[in-house]
Every structure is written in C-alpha cells, then in structure tokens.
C-alpha cells in the first residue's frame, strides 16, 4: 500500500523555542497524547535563532517537512524575537513555492508552554498534510550528497 509507505517516509524536524514551544511539546509527551512518530524536536533558544539556511539544508538532506515553533506574537520571551522569525520564514516560503519544493513543507507555529494539545494537533495535521504531498522527486533527490 503506497499510502502507508508514504506515511512512514514522512520525516519532520521541529525547531521549538525552549521557552514556549518546547515545553508545550514536552507536555504533549507527558500527557501521553497520541502523536505521529515521524518528528524529532530540536530545542532552540528562540524561534528567531532558526536560520532559513538550516531549513534549506535540512530539506536538501531529505527531511520532508520542518516546523518552527515559537511563542505567540507579543508573548515572546525576548520581546520580539519571533517577529523577524515569522517574516523571514514566510519569505523563505515564497522561495520554496517558486522553486516548486512547496512552502507547505515549512510550518511556522506559535504556542505557549501550556498549549500541549495545540502542539499535538498541529503536528498531527502537519504530518497528515506532508504525507499527502508528492515525494520530492528528482530535484531534491538529485541534490542529496552524491553517492
């Protein structure tokens, strides 16, 4: 069954800000919320810390989708770290759309530390969306490290 195979192919990297997103992700695990097994969380100090280059590099290395989670706009630990993050990543999304990689592979989410259910829902939804996307095919595959 190709659909099933596709689901297993989904690999998600979650960059979660350690003040909000990460605690929410932690909470989802602690509460034993049902989650897809496809994601790995990388704690970062702030969502603004996530360079677009990192996302490009990860996509080229065969990651299916990337989520960047920060605090709510206005609730940033560092006052406005998530504003430039959102602006920059939306611009990156434009570039991904232009080149046909698909901006949908990049999720930008905001949440607070106690919103673990929101986190779970977001990841489930993202996983579902990614498994419906066509596989990156020739152009991404051709860019992975050479054999």
């Amino acid at each position: 069954m190709s659909a099933t195979k596709n689901v297993h192919d989904v690999r998600i990297i979650v960059f979660a800000c350690r003040w909000c997103g990460l605690i929410g992700a932690d909470g989802a695990g602690r509460e034993r919320t049902a989650l897809p097994a496809s994601f790995r969380v990388i704690p970062v100090e702030c969502a603004g810390f996530v360079e677009p280059d990192l996302i490009i590099r990860a996509l080229a290395d065969g990651v299916t989708g990337i989520a960047v989670l920060g605090c709510h706009l206005g609730g940033c630990r560092f006052s406005d770290g998530n504003h430039p993050a959102l602006k920059r990543l939306e611009l990156l999304r434009t570039l991904l759309d232009t080149t046909g990689i698909g901006g949908r592979r990049l999720l930008i989410g905001f949440g607070t530390a106690h919103e673990s259910h929101q986190f779970a829902e977001m990841i489930r939804e993202f996983h579902r969306e990614l498994s419906e996307l066509p596989s990156p095919g020739t152009w991404l595959a051709g860019t992975m490290k050479r054999q």
């Binding site: 406005d80 430039p84 990156l92 990689i101 152009w139």
Partner: protein
Amino acid sequence: MLDELKKKAREILKAGDAQGVLGLKRGLFDVIHPHVFTAAEELDSLVTEPKWPLAKTARAILRDRPGDFRLAVAARGCDERAVVELIKRNQIDRERILILGYTCGSEQAKACLCSRPWPEKRVAGDIVEGIDPLADDRVRPYLEGDDRARMERWAEQLRRCIKCYGCRNACPICICVPCKLEDDLWVERGAVPVEMVPFHLIRAFHLSDTCVACGACQEACPAGIPLMTLQLSMREALRKEYNYEAGLEPERTSPILSDFNREPRPGQALPDWIHTMDRKT
C-alpha cells in the same frame, strides 16, 4: 546624455567634490574597462556601454584608498541601488561616495527585465518606462504551474550549474567573507555537480531582501540559468507586504529584520496588549 555625464564629472573633479570618478573607459585598442578618472581631461574616454555593475568595484576602491578619498560613480539605476544597499550594510561610507546617475534606454531595460531603469540621483538621460518582469515571457514560465511543474522546470535549469561561483562573485551585494557557499557544513566543497538545493537556495535567500534586480548573476552565469527570476517573487512579496524595495530608501532597514510594530503588515493580527510590551525606544 554622455556629454551631460562627462560635463558633470568634470565639474566634480574640478571643484574637488571627489578625487576620482569611477566609470567605464574606452582604453587602448578600444578595450572597455572600469577606470578611476582623476583628471578632467581624461574624461573624454568615458563611456556608459556596455552595462557593467560597478558597486562592488567602488567598494573595493574605497577600502583601498585613504579615508579622505571621495569617489564619484557613474551609475545606472541598479548601480545606485546596490550602492545604497552596501551603505546600509556598512560596506561603503556614505560620506565618501557620490552618485552620478544616468538612465538606461528602453532596450536595455527590456534586456535586463528592469522595472526601474533610472537612478534617484539622476544627472543625465531621460527616464523611460521600465517593464514588469513578472509579466514577461522570459519569467512567467518559471512561476507558473503546480509545484511539480515548477520543480521540474527549475531542476532542468539548475542542473546545468557548473559551480563556478560566478553568480556570487558578480553580485554587487554578495560580500561576506567567509562565504557559506564555501563551507562544508552547508554545501559540500569540491563536489561537482553542485548540491542544487543548498547552493542555489542559500544564495538566493541571502539576497532575498537585498537583491536590486540588476541581473548581474544571470549575465555572469556561463550556463545561462535565469537566476534573477529566483529573486523576483521574493522582491514582489516584500513590495506587496511591506511596500519595500531594496536600494530605494537609505534610511530604512529591511522589514524582515524588525518587528511588526515598526514594520506592520496588512492582515497580520497582533494582540492588543502587545504595545505594552513594546520597547520604548
């Protein structure tokens, strides 16, 4: 137009407003090359064709000369915008540079896909309308269709890359040392064919809010990859969302570096209480 430019350049040299004028010179055997004119008599050999982006050259000259050396640059619209971007990035001291702007003809504008073939500080030439690059036949095919179609079209183009770094070297604003494209962490060094996605997308994104659409990357590319087209959609997004265009406002930093209070975006909802958290500056 050329005479007006020469006249203005002579005036500047004679008045001592600048110690040199950077422009193109028709030199020995009619070879055209960038040159710093320091004497008014010399200016007879100043030419404006072909198009030769000079912003990076101006930066290199200014870094080389003593601090009181002022340079005038015979600049097209794109040269001027590139100089503004370099000033914003502290690469050129704005006190030490003078723009002698001249316009491009409609033919040049069409060849360059230029929407703004004139400089703000214009001393010579008449303004001609630019063209809308996004509506052009040379650009539209790369922005049309679904993801799959675009991906294939771009893959077909980028596959031809021979990794000569010409796009980076020709770009008037690509100035970082060290460059990420020479770092194994981001793009495998010495590997040809190039890793398409990281190489081209990292380069393109670094210039997302800085690209002045001069087309130097595209002209330098020996494989003929339409590199400027990669930037156009991002430039358009910035124009639409923040009314920002690189190189036009020397005092305004890129909107993607500041918060939504300083650079608001229509449709971007912010909670009411955010203003109480805004830093008082």
